[in-house]
Symmetry: C2
Subunit: 467 residues, 2 copies
Amino acid sequence: MNADEFRQQGKALIDWVADYLETVESRPVTSSVQPGDVRAQLPEHPPTEAEPFAAVLADMDRVIVPGLTHWQHPNFFAFFPGNSSYASILGELASAGLGVQGMSWVTSPACTEVETLMMDWMVDLLGLPERFRSTSERGGGVIHGSASEATLASILAARWRVSNGSINRLGDTTHLVAYATSQAHSSIEKGLRIAGIGTEQLRIVAHDEQFAMRPDAFAEQVAADLAAGLTPFWVCCSRGTTSSMAFDPTAAIAPIAHEHGMWVHVDAAMSGIAALAPELRWVNDGLDQADSYCTNPHKWMGVVFDCDLFYTADRAALLGALSILPEYLRSKAAESGAAIDYRDWQIPLGRRFRALKLWFTIRTGGAIDAVDMIRHHVAATQTLADLVRADERFEVVAPHPLNLLCLALRAGDQATDSLIERANATGQALFTRTVLDGRVALRFSIGGRTTTEEHVRDGWALLESLA
Amino acid sequence: MNADEFRQQGKALIDWVADYLETVESRPVTSSVQPGDVRAQLPEHPPTEAEPFAAVLADMDRVIVPGLTHWQHPNFFAFFPGNSSYASILGELASAGLGVQGMSWVTSPACTEVETLMMDWMVDLLGLPERFRSTSERGGGVIHGSASEATLASILAARWRVSNGSINRLGDTTHLVAYATSQAHSSIEKGLRIAGIGTEQLRIVAHDEQFAMRPDAFAEQVAADLAAGLTPFWVCCSRGTTSSMAFDPTAAIAPIAHEHGMWVHVDAAMSGIAALAPELRWVNDGLDQADSYCTNPHKWMGVVFDCDLFYTADRAALLGALSILPEYLRSKAAESGAAIDYRDWQIPLGRRFRALKLWFTIRTGGAIDAVDMIRHHVAATQTLADLVRADERFEVVAPHPLNLLCLALRAGDQATDSLIERANATGQALFTRTVLDGRVALRFSIGGRTTTEEHVRDGWALLESLA
């Protein structure tokens, strides 16, 4: 493809994307394909001659779109929202077009500096503690691909700090113990495992009836581990758990953790973005005591995946854990300390210019739009809760301060499971299930960019009709 | 931004990208900004009102582009090539526009199935061993963001296998030992460190005068570690090292490694793509004995970053190391074994539809174009070597079978360093430096999509004039 074809086909693709997003509501939310169906429609071997781009675009309609789960559908109530605003799509296009690498400041200064600025803008927009700002004495932030990577980076920084850096040489993790509740995201266990900290070194701290960590249980477990000669080193406070959007009380947990030199990570991957709305800044409670924090504009803010904000109040520990400086990556700018080399803030070496999609989104009003959207979603969730409570066959099974409602049928787990399955089979909406303290629940997650109260009411009507 | 604005602004941005790529040669390869200059040109705080997209695009010209290192410039001879072909840019646009998550098959079947098919297509195109094909009994492949992540995944799979899975529970890495040469990429040490294997557990195996691992030295080191009661578990064969593009002899190393139950990882991040050209398939030598392998279409093949191909011949070990199955991610398709859930093949949970950019590139002839390009680059490198040898002030300091030439001034390290600095300061070309067995070398890396022999000759003329 040459530049002229790119101009022509690129514009056709822009229209194709706009058409897709404008008509996605008319499609079933999920695909009806079975495993292998998509592949069976495509050639088993690569073409030996170039095909026109129009043929590819035709296959996008014929094969790809019918094989998708439509995350941009307003009736997508599953997992978590994965919004791609128009401006952020253009940010990805610009990033791909420039094709620069941001591994070091010197490999593209603007890539690093816009990212640092965006991290600071988000401190403003979310009302985050000043200790996370890049201009603070010891803190700073970076864009990661996902909260999983942020969690892992946090674990590695904590592991480095508690070992005074010796972990980098000796790799002995056998005495380390980490803490989270059973409600914490799977990436916590996965991140620990990757870091050489086995599941037997992860303490599942008891939660209360609201699925939030019990500080008393945490304190007891830490004391027991200390008495056993182990080293408590990292605790995860989830602010908005995946299963039920529960909020661990960071302000009560952090002092206990810090008394024993532990690292406090706050995982607000889904819910932290709520803080764009000033009246919802309670999601940040206790954050001024956190050693690290993450939240995802690629969920509720409309910045297309991948865009996770990872902040730390102790960048020295993060850099200690992740810096490697071979000869072929040395530069004067970095060695003088004047510039940030983000490769030392993350797992991989290479990095895209991801800050562009955040910059495009914020500048074209995306953060302001997101505040409106968030308020509507929170209001719709409360309306939905009232509707559910009015139907005696159903029960609301967890607190719902934001945009997730967990509900169940009083008739039992089998009935709830069957309802989820039949509702999803209609293709009219998509829900996911979870298990809360042994009970099956339907997660009704309200966060789509185009999801209105009307869609929520229709989703509920579907559930009522099938119950 | 609404759909109509997106149509209009998106088309403007398509033209902007094409203009950028068509005129990038007229710019200096590097930016003249100093640390902080880019940020100083942008508002310190986010806007309180939406700005028109045209203002953003104007700032792309005013602030961003002058602050870039231009990886798409034909005189970019630094680091490694980072080509973004037109078709792959459109692949990123399509991926962002669809905004789907490919963490599980069920979260978007087409995202998973096209990826699996692309991994198999690349087996065809690169002539890789059949044991890496998804349809093989025990192997398969996945797209990672970077070779760093592939390396880490390989280490984790090896760690799992050598411990019979107990690593997931107990996290004891203290007896494990890994092997690589001093020429291996920094991501090897970083990946091991992340996995809880300290640098004192990484054996730097001696290399020969061609900077390739010495099998005899490897065998001796393994024997010594075994005698010391340690567990050799992982060896990295670099096929194309970053410093000098040296090739470790996999075929000689793998039998020694396998005799002791070790995992053999082949890192061909940069050079593996050469195998698109049948006469260069020697880069695959020994690969039929590898447990895992990675190479990067985002380097020499023109698929915009990020796109790393990671294959394993032992997917059970990979899945053993990385699978986590919380209630909210369960699905019938995966539990039946009929579908692949790629979240279990990688570090993060979330994943973009990265296969589209590979599919777009291959279908529109990108793999065929890449063969031509690779041949021209290899030829230009040999021509350059002749030119360097004809100037008695210079010396070629490493083998150069493909597209990297390492050269130095006979006058010594200071002279070579000064030459690199002065050449880069002209803005006419960009080179990076390395140190080979204590000697400073200039790396002349020839891999840009638009880089011709003419550009190479001009780059050499620049060096000659400044020497």
